[in-house]
Protein backbone atom coordinates (compact mmCIF):
# COMPACT_ATOMS: atom_id res chain seq x y z
CA UNK A 1 0.00 0.00 0.00
CA UNK A 2 2.60 2.39 1.12
CA UNK A 3 4.76 1.34 -1.70
CA UNK A 4 2.10 2.03 -4.21
CA UNK A 5 1.46 5.47 -2.82
CA UNK A 6 5.13 6.18 -2.70
CA UNK A 7 5.39 5.13 -6.26
CA UNK A 8 2.43 7.20 -7.17
CA UNK A 9 4.01 10.22 -5.53
CA UNK A 10 7.24 9.49 -7.25
CA UNK A 11 5.71 8.90 -10.56
CA UNK A 12 3.60 11.98 -10.42
CA UNK A 13 6.65 13.96 -9.54
CA UNK A 14 8.31 12.56 -12.58
CA UNK A 15 5.18 13.04 -14.56
CA UNK A 16 4.84 16.64 -13.61
CA UNK A 17 8.42 17.21 -14.56
CA UNK A 18 7.83 15.74 -17.94
CA UNK A 19 5.02 18.15 -18.06
CA UNK A 20 7.51 20.91 -17.77
CA UNK A 21 10.11 19.43 -20.04
CA UNK A 22 7.77 18.33 -22.73
CA UNK A 23 7.14 21.91 -23.84
CA UNK A 24 10.73 22.91 -23.77
CA UNK A 25 13.28 22.70 -26.49
CA UNK A 26 14.82 19.43 -27.45
CA UNK A 27 17.87 21.05 -25.93
CA UNK A 28 16.54 20.25 -22.55
CA UNK A 29 16.77 16.66 -23.47
CA UNK A 30 20.49 17.03 -23.36
CA UNK A 31 20.17 17.21 -19.67
CA UNK A 32 17.91 14.33 -19.00
CA UNK A 33 17.27 12.56 -22.19
CA UNK A 34 17.66 9.30 -20.38
CA UNK A 35 15.04 10.35 -17.94
CA UNK A 36 12.61 11.37 -20.59
CA UNK A 37 12.54 8.16 -22.45
CA UNK A 38 12.27 6.44 -19.15
CA UNK A 39 9.49 8.74 -18.06
CA UNK A 40 7.51 7.95 -21.11
CA UNK A 41 7.71 4.31 -20.27
CA UNK A 42 6.73 5.26 -16.79
CA UNK A 43 3.71 7.18 -17.93
CA UNK A 44 2.32 4.10 -19.55
CA UNK A 45 3.48 2.20 -16.55
CA UNK A 46 1.67 4.72 -14.42
CA UNK A 47 -1.65 3.86 -15.96
CA UNK A 48 -1.39 0.40 -14.54
CA UNK A 49 0.23 1.64 -11.39
CA UNK A 50 -2.53 4.14 -10.88
CA UNK A 51 -5.10 1.44 -10.72
CA UNK A 52 -2.90 -0.28 -8.24
CA UNK A 53 -2.68 2.83 -6.14
CA UNK A 54 -6.39 3.27 -6.45
CA UNK A 55 -6.99 -0.36 -5.76
CA UNK A 56 -8.98 0.32 -2.64
CA UNK A 57 -11.19 2.99 -4.12
CA UNK A 58 -14.82 2.47 -4.91
CA UNK A 59 -16.06 3.25 -8.40
CA UNK A 60 -17.49 6.55 -7.19
CA UNK A 61 -14.18 7.48 -5.70
CA UNK A 62 -12.55 6.63 -8.98
CA UNK A 63 -14.97 8.98 -10.65
CA UNK A 64 -14.17 11.66 -8.10
CA UNK A 65 -10.48 11.17 -8.83
CA UNK A 66 -11.08 11.85 -12.49
CA UNK A 67 -13.18 14.89 -11.69
CA UNK A 68 -10.65 16.45 -9.37
CA UNK A 69 -7.83 15.74 -11.78
CA UNK A 70 -9.80 17.71 -14.35
CA UNK A 71 -10.37 20.49 -11.88
CA UNK A 72 -6.64 20.74 -11.27
CA UNK A 73 -5.81 20.66 -14.95
CA UNK A 74 -8.36 23.25 -15.93
CA UNK A 75 -8.17 25.73 -13.12
CA UNK A 76 -4.94 25.35 -11.23
CA UNK A 77 -2.38 24.26 -13.79
CA UNK A 78 -2.60 27.30 -16.09
CA UNK A 79 -2.34 29.66 -13.17
CA UNK A 80 0.60 27.71 -11.79
CA UNK A 81 2.29 28.09 -15.13
CA UNK A 82 1.54 31.75 -14.98
CA UNK A 83 2.88 32.06 -11.45
CA UNK A 84 6.13 30.32 -12.17
CA UNK A 85 6.81 31.23 -15.76
CA UNK A 86 4.87 34.24 -16.91
CA UNK A 87 4.61 36.50 -13.88
CA UNK A 88 7.61 38.69 -14.57
CA UNK A 89 8.84 39.06 -11.03
CA UNK A 90 8.61 35.41 -10.20
CA UNK A 91 10.15 34.36 -13.45
CA UNK A 92 13.14 36.65 -13.20
CA UNK A 93 13.81 36.30 -9.51
CA UNK A 94 13.00 32.70 -9.01
CA UNK A 95 12.41 30.43 -11.95
CA UNK A 96 15.00 31.77 -14.33
CA UNK A 97 17.57 32.06 -11.60
CA UNK A 98 17.00 28.52 -10.58
CA UNK A 99 17.23 27.21 -14.09
CA UNK A 100 20.26 29.32 -14.87
CA UNK A 101 22.04 27.77 -11.93
CA UNK A 102 21.03 24.24 -12.62
CA UNK A 103 21.22 23.99 -16.33
CA UNK A 104 24.70 23.54 -17.82
CA UNK A 105 26.51 26.58 -19.10
CA UNK A 106 25.74 27.19 -22.74
CA UNK A 107 22.13 26.28 -22.31
CA UNK A 108 21.38 28.31 -19.25
CA UNK A 109 21.41 31.48 -21.27
CA UNK A 110 18.63 30.63 -23.59
CA UNK A 111 16.86 27.59 -22.29
CA UNK A 112 14.89 29.33 -19.54
CA UNK A 113 13.90 31.99 -22.00
CA UNK A 114 12.72 29.43 -24.51
CA UNK A 115 10.67 27.70 -21.90
CA UNK A 116 9.29 31.02 -20.80
CA UNK A 117 8.16 31.74 -24.32
CA UNK A 118 6.57 28.36 -24.69
CA UNK A 119 4.63 28.84 -21.55
CA UNK A 120 3.47 32.27 -22.58
CA UNK A 121 2.35 30.86 -25.89
CA UNK A 122 0.53 28.05 -24.21
CA UNK A 123 -1.35 30.39 -21.96
CA UNK A 124 -2.17 32.60 -24.88
CA UNK A 125 -3.76 29.65 -26.58
CA UNK A 126 -5.71 28.74 -23.51
CA UNK A 127 -6.89 32.17 -22.55
CA UNK A 128 -6.94 34.01 -25.82
CA UNK A 129 -4.59 36.69 -27.01
CA UNK A 130 -5.97 39.54 -25.01
CA UNK A 131 -5.15 38.24 -21.58
CA UNK A 132 -1.67 39.72 -21.38
CA UNK A 133 -2.98 43.22 -21.86
CA UNK A 134 -5.58 43.07 -19.20
CA UNK A 135 -3.55 42.33 -16.10
CA UNK A 136 -6.31 43.37 -13.82
CA UNK A 137 -8.83 41.10 -15.38
CA UNK A 138 -6.38 38.23 -15.27
CA UNK A 139 -5.74 38.85 -11.63
CA UNK A 140 -9.41 39.04 -11.00
CA UNK A 141 -10.80 36.11 -12.90
CA UNK A 142 -8.13 33.50 -13.39
CA UNK A 143 -6.41 33.84 -10.06
CA UNK A 144 -9.81 33.90 -8.46
CA UNK A 145 -10.60 30.62 -10.17
CA UNK A 146 -7.32 29.15 -9.02
CA UNK A 147 -7.88 30.30 -5.47
CA UNK A 148 -11.33 28.87 -5.60
CA UNK A 149 -9.85 25.61 -6.83
CA UNK A 150 -7.49 25.51 -3.85
CA UNK A 151 -10.35 26.28 -1.51
CA UNK A 152 -12.40 23.52 -3.06
CA UNK A 153 -9.55 21.07 -2.57
CA UNK A 154 -9.22 22.17 1.00
CA UNK A 155 -12.93 21.68 1.55
CA UNK A 156 -12.88 18.31 -0.07
CA UNK A 157 -9.95 17.22 2.03
CA UNK A 158 -11.50 18.45 5.22
CA UNK A 159 -9.80 16.87 8.19
CA UNK A 160 -8.92 13.67 6.44
CA UNK A 161 -5.39 12.51 6.08
CA UNK A 162 -5.75 11.80 2.38
CA UNK A 163 -8.45 12.59 -0.08
CA UNK A 164 -10.04 9.20 0.27
CA UNK A 165 -9.59 8.44 3.91
CA UNK A 166 -6.47 7.12 5.50
CA UNK A 167 -4.72 5.65 2.53
CA UNK A 168 -3.21 7.58 -0.34
CA UNK A 169 -4.32 7.27 -3.92
CA UNK A 170 -3.23 8.63 -7.24
CA UNK A 171 -5.21 11.81 -6.69
CA UNK A 172 -3.11 12.50 -3.61
CA UNK A 173 0.03 12.08 -5.65
CA UNK A 174 -1.20 14.50 -8.26
CA UNK A 175 -2.47 17.13 -5.85
CA UNK A 176 0.75 16.88 -3.90
CA UNK A 177 2.88 17.27 -6.97
CA UNK A 178 1.02 20.46 -7.86
CA UNK A 179 0.87 21.97 -4.42
CA UNK A 180 4.29 21.17 -2.96
CA UNK A 181 6.25 23.39 -5.32
CA UNK A 182 3.82 26.21 -4.83
CA UNK A 183 4.04 25.82 -1.09
CA UNK A 184 7.79 25.49 -0.84
CA UNK A 185 9.17 27.67 -3.57
CA UNK A 186 10.24 31.12 -2.44
CA UNK A 187 8.32 33.29 -4.78
CA UNK A 188 8.67 37.05 -4.62
CA UNK A 189 5.16 37.47 -5.92
CA UNK A 190 3.21 34.83 -4.09
CA UNK A 191 -0.43 35.77 -4.19
CA UNK A 192 -1.52 32.24 -4.88
CA UNK A 193 1.05 30.98 -2.41
CA UNK A 194 -0.41 33.19 0.28
CA UNK A 195 -3.77 31.73 -0.33
CA UNK A 196 -2.44 28.20 -0.16
CA UNK A 197 -0.66 28.95 3.10
CA UNK A 198 -3.88 30.22 4.56
CA UNK A 199 -5.46 26.84 3.94
CA UNK A 200 -4.02 25.04 6.90
CA UNK A 201 -5.20 21.54 6.14
CA UNK A 202 -3.66 21.57 2.65
CA UNK A 203 -0.34 22.74 4.06
CA UNK A 204 -0.36 20.03 6.68
CA UNK A 205 -1.29 17.55 4.02
CA UNK A 206 1.70 18.48 1.90
CA UNK A 207 4.11 18.43 4.80
CA UNK A 208 2.90 15.09 5.98
CA UNK A 209 3.30 13.57 2.55
CA UNK A 210 6.76 15.05 2.35
CA UNK A 211 7.83 13.58 5.62
CA UNK A 212 6.09 10.27 4.97
CA UNK A 213 7.29 9.49 1.50
CA UNK A 214 10.31 11.64 0.85
CA UNK A 215 12.45 11.38 3.95
CA UNK A 216 15.55 10.24 1.99
CA UNK A 217 17.22 8.77 5.03
CA UNK A 218 20.20 7.70 2.97
CA UNK A 219 21.57 11.21 3.43
CA UNK A 220 23.38 11.08 0.16
CA UNK A 221 20.71 12.82 -1.85
CA UNK A 222 20.15 16.09 -0.04
CA UNK A 223 16.46 15.49 0.15
CA UNK A 224 15.30 18.03 -2.32
CA UNK A 225 11.73 17.26 -1.71
CA UNK A 226 11.44 17.29 2.06
CA UNK A 227 13.45 20.44 2.31
CA UNK A 228 12.70 21.85 -1.05
CA UNK A 229 15.56 24.09 -1.86
CA UNK A 230 14.74 26.86 -4.18
CA UNK A 231 17.50 28.99 -5.55
CA UNK A 232 17.85 30.88 -2.32
CA UNK A 233 17.14 27.90 -0.14
CA UNK A 234 20.25 26.17 -1.30
CA UNK A 235 22.53 28.97 -0.28
CA UNK A 236 21.32 28.93 3.23
CA UNK A 237 22.57 25.44 3.74
CA UNK A 238 26.19 24.55 3.87
CA UNK A 239 25.99 21.09 2.43
CA UNK A 240 23.92 21.65 -0.68
CA UNK A 241 26.08 24.65 -1.41
CA UNK A 242 29.17 22.50 -1.52
CA UNK A 243 27.32 19.97 -3.48
CA UNK A 244 26.30 22.57 -5.96
CA UNK A 245 29.85 23.64 -6.47
CA UNK A 246 30.77 20.09 -7.24
CA UNK A 247 27.85 19.92 -9.56
CA UNK A 248 28.83 23.11 -11.19
CA UNK A 249 32.33 21.93 -11.96
CA UNK A 250 30.97 18.75 -13.46
CA UNK A 251 28.51 20.82 -15.40
CA UNK A 252 31.18 23.16 -16.72
CA UNK A 253 33.27 20.25 -17.84
CA UNK A 254 30.33 18.67 -19.51
CA UNK A 255 29.41 21.91 -21.15
CA UNK A 256 32.86 22.20 -22.65
CA UNK A 257 32.60 18.66 -23.93
CA UNK A 258 29.19 19.36 -25.27
CA UNK A 259 30.32 22.49 -26.99
CA UNK A 260 33.12 20.57 -28.58
CA UNK A 261 30.78 17.85 -29.64
CA UNK A 262 28.43 20.38 -31.16
CA UNK A 263 31.14 22.25 -32.92
CA UNK A 264 32.73 19.19 -34.39
CA UNK A 265 29.29 18.04 -35.37
CA UNK A 266 30.06 14.48 -34.42
CA UNK A 267 27.73 14.19 -31.57
CA UNK A 268 24.05 14.71 -31.84
CA UNK A 269 22.08 16.43 -29.15
CA UNK A 270 20.73 13.26 -27.67
CA UNK A 271 24.12 11.66 -27.56
CA UNK A 272 25.65 14.50 -25.66
CA UNK A 273 22.83 14.55 -23.26
CA UNK A 274 23.09 11.12 -21.87
CA UNK A 275 26.10 12.15 -19.84
CA UNK A 276 24.74 14.69 -17.45
CA UNK A 277 21.59 12.83 -16.77
CA UNK A 278 23.51 9.79 -15.88
CA UNK A 279 25.96 11.56 -13.70
CA UNK A 280 23.75 13.91 -11.91
CA UNK A 281 22.71 12.64 -8.55
CA UNK A 282 19.14 12.16 -7.73
CA UNK A 283 19.03 15.49 -5.97
CA UNK A 284 18.81 17.15 -9.31
CA UNK A 285 15.67 15.41 -10.21
CA UNK A 286 14.09 16.03 -6.91
CA UNK A 287 14.80 19.69 -6.99
CA UNK A 288 13.27 19.83 -10.33
CA UNK A 289 10.12 18.44 -9.01
CA UNK A 290 9.32 21.56 -7.18
CA UNK A 291 10.16 23.57 -10.18
CA UNK A 292 7.71 22.19 -12.57
CA UNK A 293 5.23 24.57 -13.99
Amino acid sequence: MLLSALQAGWLSSLLSRTGSTAWSLPALKTRDKGTISKTQQIITHLRKQKYNADYDLSATQGADTLAFVSLLEEKLLPVLIHTFWVDAKNYVEHTRKWYAETVPFPLNFFLPNCMHKRHVERLQLLWGDGYMEDEEKLEKELYRDARECLTLLSQRLGSQKFFFGDSPASLDALVFSRLAPLLKAKLPNGKLQQHLKSLQNLCNYCTSILSLYFPWDGGDPPAGAPRPVGAEGGEAEEEPHKRRNQLLSVVVGLAAMLAYAFLSGIVSIQRGSAGPAARQPIAMEEEEEEEEE
Binding site: T60, D64, L71, G128
Partner: protein, 294 residues
Protein backbone atom coordinates in the same frame (compact mmCIF):
# COMPACT_ATOMS: atom_id res chain seq x y z
CA UNK B 1 -4.29 65.27 -32.27
CA UNK B 2 -6.26 66.78 -29.48
CA UNK B 3 -4.82 64.25 -27.13
CA UNK B 4 -1.31 65.14 -28.09
CA UNK B 5 -2.04 68.79 -27.64
CA UNK B 6 -2.85 68.14 -24.07
CA UNK B 7 0.53 66.47 -23.74
CA UNK B 8 -1.03 63.17 -22.99
CA UNK B 9 0.48 60.26 -24.83
CA UNK B 10 -2.04 57.93 -23.29
CA UNK B 11 -5.07 56.42 -24.86
CA UNK B 12 -7.41 58.50 -26.91
CA UNK B 13 -10.55 59.12 -25.03
CA UNK B 14 -8.94 57.88 -21.88
CA UNK B 15 -11.17 59.94 -19.76
CA UNK B 16 -14.17 58.64 -21.55
CA UNK B 17 -13.13 55.05 -21.16
CA UNK B 18 -12.70 55.50 -17.48
CA UNK B 19 -16.07 57.05 -17.33
CA UNK B 20 -17.46 54.08 -19.11
CA UNK B 21 -15.76 51.70 -16.74
CA UNK B 22 -17.12 53.55 -13.77
CA UNK B 23 -20.46 53.58 -15.42
CA UNK B 24 -20.32 49.89 -16.01
CA UNK B 25 -19.40 49.12 -12.46
CA UNK B 26 -22.19 51.26 -11.22
CA UNK B 27 -24.62 49.69 -13.57
CA UNK B 28 -23.29 46.26 -12.65
CA UNK B 29 -24.07 46.91 -9.04
CA UNK B 30 -27.36 48.40 -9.93
CA UNK B 31 -28.28 45.60 -12.27
CA UNK B 32 -27.28 43.02 -9.71
CA UNK B 33 -30.07 44.32 -7.58
CA UNK B 34 -32.41 44.56 -10.53
CA UNK B 35 -34.73 41.64 -11.10
CA UNK B 36 -34.32 39.43 -14.13
CA UNK B 37 -35.82 41.30 -17.08
CA UNK B 38 -38.37 39.80 -19.42
CA UNK B 39 -36.36 40.64 -22.52
CA UNK B 40 -33.19 38.72 -21.67
CA UNK B 41 -31.65 37.20 -24.76
CA UNK B 42 -29.29 34.34 -25.43
CA UNK B 43 -27.19 34.49 -28.57
CA UNK B 44 -25.92 31.52 -30.51
CA UNK B 45 -25.12 30.64 -34.09
CA UNK B 46 -27.76 29.75 -36.66
CA UNK B 47 -29.46 26.62 -35.44
CA UNK B 48 -30.14 24.70 -38.58
CA UNK B 49 -27.18 25.31 -40.81
CA UNK B 50 -24.31 26.69 -38.79
CA UNK B 51 -23.95 25.73 -35.16
CA UNK B 52 -21.47 23.01 -34.32
CA UNK B 53 -21.76 20.23 -31.82
CA UNK B 54 -19.65 21.83 -29.09
CA UNK B 55 -21.32 25.24 -29.32
CA UNK B 56 -24.74 23.68 -29.43
CA UNK B 57 -23.91 21.68 -26.32
CA UNK B 58 -22.70 24.75 -24.45
CA UNK B 59 -25.72 26.72 -25.55
CA UNK B 60 -28.12 24.00 -24.50
CA UNK B 61 -26.37 23.78 -21.13
CA UNK B 62 -26.94 27.48 -20.50
CA UNK B 63 -30.54 27.23 -21.65
CA UNK B 64 -31.09 24.28 -19.36
CA UNK B 65 -29.52 26.14 -16.48
CA UNK B 66 -31.75 29.17 -16.99
CA UNK B 67 -34.79 26.94 -17.32
CA UNK B 68 -33.87 25.26 -14.05
CA UNK B 69 -33.62 28.68 -12.45
CA UNK B 70 -36.98 29.45 -14.02
CA UNK B 71 -35.63 32.52 -15.74
CA UNK B 72 -37.13 33.36 -19.12
CA UNK B 73 -34.73 33.74 -22.01
CA UNK B 74 -35.22 34.28 -25.70
CA UNK B 75 -32.81 32.49 -27.99
CA UNK B 76 -31.52 34.67 -30.79
CA UNK B 77 -29.57 33.12 -33.63
CA UNK B 78 -26.93 35.20 -35.31
CA UNK B 79 -24.37 34.11 -37.84
CA UNK B 80 -21.76 36.28 -36.15
CA UNK B 81 -22.58 35.20 -32.58
CA UNK B 82 -19.04 33.95 -32.07
CA UNK B 83 -17.57 37.34 -32.87
CA UNK B 84 -20.17 39.23 -30.91
CA UNK B 85 -19.29 37.39 -27.75
CA UNK B 86 -16.85 39.28 -25.53
CA UNK B 87 -14.84 36.12 -24.93
CA UNK B 88 -15.22 34.75 -28.45
CA UNK B 89 -17.19 31.83 -27.09
CA UNK B 90 -20.81 30.92 -27.56
CA UNK B 91 -23.35 31.26 -26.03
CA UNK B 92 -23.63 34.61 -24.37
CA UNK B 93 -26.55 36.35 -22.77
CA UNK B 94 -27.60 39.96 -23.05
CA UNK B 95 -29.43 41.02 -19.94
CA UNK B 96 -30.22 44.67 -19.41
CA UNK B 97 -27.03 46.27 -20.63
CA UNK B 98 -24.80 43.44 -19.49
CA UNK B 99 -23.20 40.86 -21.76
CA UNK B 100 -22.00 37.65 -20.17
CA UNK B 101 -20.60 34.65 -21.98
CA UNK B 102 -20.13 31.00 -21.05
CA UNK B 103 -21.79 28.95 -18.38
CA UNK B 104 -19.38 29.67 -15.50
CA UNK B 105 -19.70 33.46 -15.59
CA UNK B 106 -23.42 33.20 -16.35
CA UNK B 107 -23.92 31.12 -13.22
CA UNK B 108 -22.12 33.78 -11.20
CA UNK B 109 -24.07 36.56 -12.87
CA UNK B 110 -27.36 34.85 -12.16
CA UNK B 111 -26.26 34.25 -8.61
CA UNK B 112 -25.62 37.98 -8.19
CA UNK B 113 -29.24 38.47 -9.17
CA UNK B 114 -30.30 36.17 -6.41
CA UNK B 115 -30.90 32.93 -8.26
CA UNK B 116 -28.80 29.93 -7.45
CA UNK B 117 -29.19 26.19 -7.81
CA UNK B 118 -26.30 25.17 -5.62
CA UNK B 119 -27.11 27.00 -2.41
CA UNK B 120 -28.44 23.89 -0.79
CA UNK B 121 -25.19 21.99 -1.14
CA UNK B 122 -22.60 21.67 1.59
CA UNK B 123 -18.98 22.64 1.04
CA UNK B 124 -17.78 19.20 0.01
CA UNK B 125 -20.63 18.80 -2.43
CA UNK B 126 -19.89 22.18 -3.91
CA UNK B 127 -16.27 21.17 -4.38
CA UNK B 128 -17.36 17.97 -6.04
CA UNK B 129 -19.82 19.77 -8.24
CA UNK B 130 -17.14 22.14 -9.47
CA UNK B 131 -14.78 19.23 -10.03
CA UNK B 132 -17.32 17.34 -12.10
CA UNK B 133 -18.11 20.42 -14.13
CA UNK B 134 -14.45 20.70 -14.94
CA UNK B 135 -14.44 17.03 -15.82
CA UNK B 136 -17.15 17.68 -18.40
CA UNK B 137 -15.31 20.68 -19.78
CA UNK B 138 -11.98 18.97 -19.76
CA UNK B 139 -13.10 15.71 -21.31
CA UNK B 140 -16.42 16.00 -23.12
CA UNK B 141 -15.99 19.49 -24.50
CA UNK B 142 -12.44 18.83 -25.58
CA UNK B 143 -13.49 15.55 -27.14
CA UNK B 144 -16.23 17.34 -29.06
CA UNK B 145 -13.75 19.89 -30.28
CA UNK B 146 -11.35 17.13 -31.22
CA UNK B 147 -13.98 15.32 -33.20
CA UNK B 148 -15.09 18.50 -34.92
CA UNK B 149 -11.74 19.91 -35.85
CA UNK B 150 -9.18 17.12 -35.74
CA UNK B 151 -10.99 14.16 -37.26
CA UNK B 152 -10.37 14.65 -40.95
CA UNK B 153 -13.56 13.05 -42.24
CA UNK B 154 -15.79 15.02 -39.88
CA UNK B 155 -13.91 18.20 -40.65
CA UNK B 156 -14.42 17.77 -44.37
CA UNK B 157 -18.00 16.49 -44.31
CA UNK B 158 -19.57 18.42 -41.47
CA UNK B 159 -17.45 21.03 -39.77
CA UNK B 160 -16.21 23.06 -42.69
CA UNK B 161 -19.51 23.22 -44.59
CA UNK B 162 -21.40 24.19 -41.46
CA UNK B 163 -18.88 26.59 -40.00
CA UNK B 164 -18.47 28.44 -43.28
CA UNK B 165 -22.14 28.36 -44.26
CA UNK B 166 -22.98 32.04 -43.61
CA UNK B 167 -20.07 33.33 -45.64
CA UNK B 168 -19.51 33.61 -49.36
CA UNK B 169 -16.62 31.94 -51.08
CA UNK B 170 -13.67 32.28 -50.42
CA UNK B 171 -14.30 33.58 -46.93
CA UNK B 172 -15.98 30.34 -45.89
CA UNK B 173 -12.83 28.37 -46.57
CA UNK B 174 -10.51 30.93 -45.05
CA UNK B 175 -12.45 31.23 -41.81
CA UNK B 176 -12.87 27.49 -41.48
CA UNK B 177 -9.18 26.87 -41.91
CA UNK B 178 -8.33 29.69 -39.57
CA UNK B 179 -10.52 28.24 -36.88
CA UNK B 180 -9.24 24.75 -37.51
CA UNK B 181 -5.68 25.91 -37.15
CA UNK B 182 -6.48 27.71 -33.94
CA UNK B 183 -8.24 24.71 -32.40
CA UNK B 184 -5.48 22.36 -33.44
CA UNK B 185 -2.89 24.58 -31.83
CA UNK B 186 -4.92 24.57 -28.68
CA UNK B 187 -5.13 20.80 -28.83
CA UNK B 188 -1.39 20.68 -29.16
CA UNK B 189 -0.94 22.90 -26.15
CA UNK B 190 -3.04 20.63 -23.97
CA UNK B 191 -1.47 17.51 -25.38
CA UNK B 192 -4.45 16.18 -27.30
CA UNK B 193 -3.01 16.63 -30.76
CA UNK B 194 -1.21 13.31 -30.68
CA UNK B 195 -4.27 11.34 -29.66
CA UNK B 196 -6.10 9.05 -32.03
CA UNK B 197 -9.86 9.05 -32.34
CA UNK B 198 -10.00 5.80 -30.44
CA UNK B 199 -8.06 7.26 -27.57
CA UNK B 200 -10.42 10.21 -27.47
CA UNK B 201 -13.44 7.93 -27.48
CA UNK B 202 -11.80 6.00 -24.70
CA UNK B 203 -11.53 9.23 -22.73
CA UNK B 204 -15.17 10.00 -23.38
CA UNK B 205 -16.06 6.56 -22.16
CA UNK B 206 -14.03 7.09 -19.03
CA UNK B 207 -15.75 10.40 -18.45
CA UNK B 208 -19.20 8.93 -18.99
CA UNK B 209 -18.36 6.10 -16.70
CA UNK B 210 -17.39 8.56 -13.99
CA UNK B 211 -20.55 10.58 -14.51
CA UNK B 212 -22.68 7.48 -14.54
CA UNK B 213 -21.05 6.28 -11.35
CA UNK B 214 -21.60 9.58 -9.69
CA UNK B 215 -25.21 9.82 -10.77
CA UNK B 216 -26.07 6.28 -9.73
CA UNK B 217 -29.79 5.99 -9.32
CA UNK B 218 -30.41 9.53 -8.17
CA UNK B 219 -32.66 11.77 -10.25
CA UNK B 220 -29.98 14.49 -10.28
CA UNK B 221 -26.32 14.53 -9.44
CA UNK B 222 -26.94 15.90 -6.02
CA UNK B 223 -30.12 14.24 -4.90
CA UNK B 224 -33.46 15.74 -5.67
CA UNK B 225 -32.58 19.17 -6.96
CA UNK B 226 -30.87 20.09 -10.16
CA UNK B 227 -27.65 22.10 -10.11
CA UNK B 228 -25.58 23.74 -12.80
CA UNK B 229 -23.72 20.45 -13.12
CA UNK B 230 -26.95 18.81 -14.25
CA UNK B 231 -27.45 21.56 -16.79
CA UNK B 232 -23.95 21.16 -18.12
CA UNK B 233 -24.07 17.38 -18.33
CA UNK B 234 -27.48 17.52 -19.94
CA UNK B 235 -26.31 20.07 -22.50
CA UNK B 236 -23.42 17.97 -23.61
CA UNK B 237 -24.88 14.48 -23.42
CA UNK B 238 -28.17 15.46 -25.00
CA UNK B 239 -26.40 17.15 -27.85
CA UNK B 240 -24.10 14.20 -28.35
CA UNK B 241 -27.06 11.82 -28.31
CA UNK B 242 -29.15 13.80 -30.75
CA UNK B 243 -26.63 15.07 -33.25
CA UNK B 244 -26.09 13.16 -36.43
CA UNK B 245 -22.40 12.77 -37.13
CA UNK B 246 -20.40 10.69 -39.55
CA UNK B 247 -20.27 7.80 -37.15
CA UNK B 248 -22.31 7.00 -34.11
CA UNK B 249 -19.22 6.17 -32.13
CA UNK B 250 -19.57 9.13 -29.80
CA UNK B 251 -23.25 8.69 -29.05
CA UNK B 252 -22.78 4.94 -28.70
CA UNK B 253 -20.37 5.60 -25.87
CA UNK B 254 -23.01 7.60 -24.05
CA UNK B 255 -25.78 5.15 -24.81
CA UNK B 256 -23.87 2.47 -22.95
CA UNK B 257 -24.86 4.16 -19.73
CA UNK B 258 -28.57 3.80 -19.36
CA UNK B 259 -28.84 6.01 -16.31
CA UNK B 260 -27.26 8.89 -18.26
CA UNK B 261 -29.67 8.57 -21.17
CA UNK B 262 -32.55 8.35 -18.74
CA UNK B 263 -31.23 11.45 -17.03
CA UNK B 264 -31.20 13.33 -20.32
CA UNK B 265 -34.71 12.26 -21.15
CA UNK B 266 -35.91 13.28 -17.73
CA UNK B 267 -34.46 16.77 -17.91
CA UNK B 268 -35.69 17.23 -21.43
CA UNK B 269 -39.22 16.29 -20.39
CA UNK B 270 -39.18 18.37 -17.29
CA UNK B 271 -37.65 21.56 -18.60
CA UNK B 272 -38.06 21.61 -22.34
CA UNK B 273 -41.35 19.92 -23.05
CA UNK B 274 -44.71 21.09 -21.92
CA UNK B 275 -43.27 24.51 -21.32
CA UNK B 276 -44.74 27.57 -22.91
CA UNK B 277 -45.29 26.98 -26.57
CA UNK B 278 -42.87 29.57 -27.77
CA UNK B 279 -40.21 28.45 -25.32
CA UNK B 280 -37.30 28.72 -27.62
CA UNK B 281 -35.11 26.46 -25.54
CA UNK B 282 -37.70 23.77 -26.05
CA UNK B 283 -37.58 24.44 -29.73
CA UNK B 284 -33.83 24.07 -29.57
CA UNK B 285 -34.14 20.77 -27.82
CA UNK B 286 -36.78 19.59 -30.23
CA UNK B 287 -34.87 20.64 -33.29
CA UNK B 288 -31.87 18.84 -31.94
CA UNK B 289 -34.04 15.84 -31.48
CA UNK B 290 -35.28 16.00 -35.01
CA UNK B 291 -31.77 15.70 -36.19
CA UNK B 292 -31.56 12.50 -34.23
CA UNK B 293 -34.51 11.11 -36.11
CA UNK B 294 -33.14 12.03 -39.48
Amino acid sequence: MEVRMKGRPGEPGLARQQLCVCGEQLSAQASAAEPWPENAELYQQLKEEQILLSDNASSLAVQAFLQMCNLPIRVVCRANAEYMSPSGKVPFIHVGNQVVSELGPIVQFVKAKGHSLSDGLDEVQKAEMKAYMELVNNMLLTAELYLQWCDDVTVEEITHPRYGSPYPWPLNRILSYQKQWEVRRKMKAIGWAGKTLDQVLEDVDQCCQALSQRLGTQPYFFNKHPTELDALVFGHLFTILTTQLITDALSEKVKNYSNLTAFCRRIEQQYFEGQDKDGSAAVAARSAKRSLLR
